[in-house]
């Protein structure tokens, strides 16, 4: 399989994730965007790993690290969103910002 296909898929995933982070107002969907971006990176790591065919498979190992990191991040992120919802009654990031400013 040529390297180009996974890279294009990865770029598409990253773009969608970036759009979600930048444009979404819902905090959970922002986190989903971040998750997408992380997985786009994972995809690239795996693709390059296969492409270089390295004996130590550093790309795959790094992917495992990133998955662990992503799990921790989403746990922490959702906890923050939950705390935010309890404190302000909303998970809309703009509304929360305004209320914090006020």
């Amino acid at each position: 399989m040529p390297l180009l296909y996974p890279l294009l898929l990865s770029a598409a995933l990253f773009g969608i994730g970036l759009y979600g982070v930048l444009a979404r107002r819902n905090a959970v969907l922002v986190l989903v965007g971040i998750e997408l971006m992380l997985n786009a990176v994972n995809l690239q790591l795996v693709a390059y790993d296969a492409w270089f065919a390295e004996t130590l498979h550093t790309g795959q190992v790094l992917t495992l690290f990133v998955i662990a990191l992503a799990a921790a991040e989403i746990g922490l992120g959702l906890a923050i969103v939950l705390a935010m919802f309890r404190a302000t009654g909303t998970i809309d990031v703009d509304t929360v910002e305004r209320e914090v400013e006020a």
Binding site: L18, L22, A23, D94, E101
Partner: protein
């Protein structure tokens, strides 16, 4: 409020001054070194509290002490239930001390300090009834006009110090006697400016009559013993320095000649007793300056002391009449002879002294001035003989006009149809009696100039007769209006001073707005625009920041790819 403590304080001060001054009345000058400041090099003046009391100083000190004490006694009755009596009484004491400091000191800067304290005291006392707008205006005017003159004194002191290398008056006088005169004209003219303002001579004469809203005892104090007398005394003290310049002497003589006649004519036309007396002071001060301009300090100081006695008497008497009829307008007075007998007799002596009638002290001291002028006509003094002749003629003429207005004021106050009046109070007539006695007693031992005396008596008699004749005709004279308006000389100040001040203020304001404010305003404008630009970026929204970061990263990628393609 009890008032005798203030009298006691003033009496103590006056007694101290008297004890100090009396031994020196006939003596050689005594110097007492009380304090010397550190020598701080030639650039800065050395302050010292040295004093020199010569007979001349002793006379003026006694005058100031005596009049201040009498004024304080008089004020206890005159001021009624004034609510600011405490400050009033203390200011009188301060006034007296400042005058004594000016008279006795040997240091020009101490003299300047005393001189300025008197300016402040007169400002505060003229404005004592500051609820009245004319009192406020008169006080401000007195202060501002004398301040202008004080600048002359300050510069004169600096020039004197730089020229002779000393600020001690006795050293200056020695130096002026020995060395070639240097900067004499500049020093002389600056001193003339200083005394013209302080002693209310033309053209800075208008503050003195406008100071009349002040309490009458204060007017007596200012006109007789302090403030205006300081100008005369200063010139008399510095005469050896001053008379090295013929220009300055001639200027002084001309100023004196113009002032004495003009002020006497103004006094004739006044409808207000107090204001007429104020003009009379201006005229009499000019007479003293005329004596000084001939180089005869003794004659000038002699007239200063004699004038101090009779003018204090006249003003205090005027105060009694004002309390009695409730106004200082001549029209409100008349026939006060019966209701105010003591005031009548004492003021008669005062007016006689003003007119120069034998045997009052005014006769002798004025003849001393006329004689000094007559001596100067031989042209051996610094003053030119011709100038001396002119001033002498004007002075004689002034004596005649003085007799006219003295008689006019006397008759319109005390003769004629009686005006309703309250009686006299003991604390007020006591000082009057003492001053009347002084007006006669000071004549003892005065020099008699027979020829001049005869002439001035004749002129005074003509003046008195003319005044009585004019009175019978009801004072219907054509010269009245312009003279009563004082020839509009004051309008120059009243219009020009604010116009100049406002013009200068507008100019400075324009410079400030267009030349200086531009920079801070421009800076503020620039900072505001800059903050808008930066503020638009700093929206405090994380997503906007993230967009910028992502956009930046994209740019870098595109840029590096483009560069990679290009290479």
């Amino acid at each position: 409020m009890r008032r005798w403590p203030y009298v006691v304080v003033t009496a103590l001060v006056s007694a101290a001054v008297a004890v100090w001054a009396i031994p020196h009345l006939g003596d050689d000058p005594s110097t007492s070194v009380t304090y010397r400041g550190n020598d701080v090099g030639p650039a800065l003046p050395r302050l010292s509290l040295d004093t020199v009391v010569d007979p001349m100083a002793a006379q003026v000190m006694l005058l100031a002490a005596g009049v201040a004490l009498l004024v304080q006694v008089y004020s206890t009755a005159y001021m009624g239930d004034d609510k600011r009596y405490r400050s009033y009484a203390w200011l009188i004491v301060l006034f007296e001390i400042a005058m004594v400091a000016v008279v006795a000191t040997d240091n020009l800067f101490v003299l300047l300090i005393g001189w300025e304290i008197m300016g402040v005291c007169s400002y505060l006392l003229i404005g004592h009834a500051w609820e009245l707008p004319q009192a406020r205006a008169g006080a401000a005017k007195a202060f501002l006009v004398t301040r202008i003159a004080d600048i002359g004194l300050l510069v004169a002191i600096i020039v004197l110090g730089q020229t002779y290398g000393t600020y001690r008056i006795s050293h200056l006088i020695d130096a002026a006697g020995q060395e070639e005169p240097r900067n004499a004209t500049a020093i002389g003219l600056l001193l003339v400016l200083a005394v013209v303002g302080k002693s209310a001579q033309v053209p800075l004469h208008t503050w003195l009559p406008d100071a009349m809203p002040g309490p009458t005892p204060i007017t007596a104090l200012i006109h007789a013993a302090t403030m205006v007398a300081a100008g005369v005394y200063l010139l008399a003290r510095l005469l050896p320095v001053f008379e090295t310049s013929q220009v300055a002497m001639t200027t002084l003589a001309v100023v004196a000649a113009v002032t004495m006649l003009l002020a006497a004519l103004f006094a004739v036309a006044q409808t207000d007793l107090k204001r007429a007396l104020a003009w009379s002071t201006v005229s009499q001060l000019a007479l003293m300056f005329a004596a000084l301009s001939t180089g005869n300090a003794a004659a000038g100081i002699n007239h200063l002391v004699s004038h101090g006695a009779f003018k204090a008497l006249l003003f205090l008497g005027c105060g009694v009449a004002m309390v009695a009829v409730g106004s200082s307008a001549l029209s409100a007075m008349g026939g006060l002879r019966k209701s105010l007998p003591v005031t009548f007799w004492t003021m008669t002596i005062g007016f006689a002294a003003l007119a120069g009638v034998v045997p009052t002290v005014g006769f002798f001291s004025k003849d001393g001035v006329l004689d000094a002028l007559h001596v100067a006509t031989d042209g051996e003094a610094t003053l030119g003989g011709a100038t001396a002749w002119v001033v002498l003629v004007v002075a004689v003429l002034t004596s005649g006009v003085t007799a006219v207005y003295a008689t006019r004021l006397w008759t319109s106050t005390f003769l004629g149809a009686p005006a309703p009046a309250h009686g006299e109070r003991r604390a007020m007539v006591g000082p009057l009696l003492l001053l009347a006695v002084a007006c006669l007693a000071l004549s003892v031992g005065q020099e008699l100039h027979v020829g001049i005396g005869a002439l001035s008596t004749l002129v005074a008699a003509v003046g008195i007769v003319a005044a009585l004749w004019l009175r019978d005709r009801g004072w219907r004279v054509r010269f009245g209006r312009p003279l009563a308006d004082e020839l509009g000389l004051d309008a120059v100040f009243v219009r020009a001073a604010p116009a100049v001040t406002l013009g200068a203020a507008r100019m400075v304001d324009a410079i400030d707005a267009d030349g200086i404010d531009v920079y801070p305003r421009g800076g503020a404008w620039f900072a505001q625009r800059a903050s808008w630009v930066i503020g638009a970026v700093q929206s405090a929204r994380v997503q906007v920041y993230a967009t910028i970061v992502a956009g930046g990263a994209l740019l870098i990628v595109i840029g590096s790819v483009a560069a990679g393609v290009g290479s």
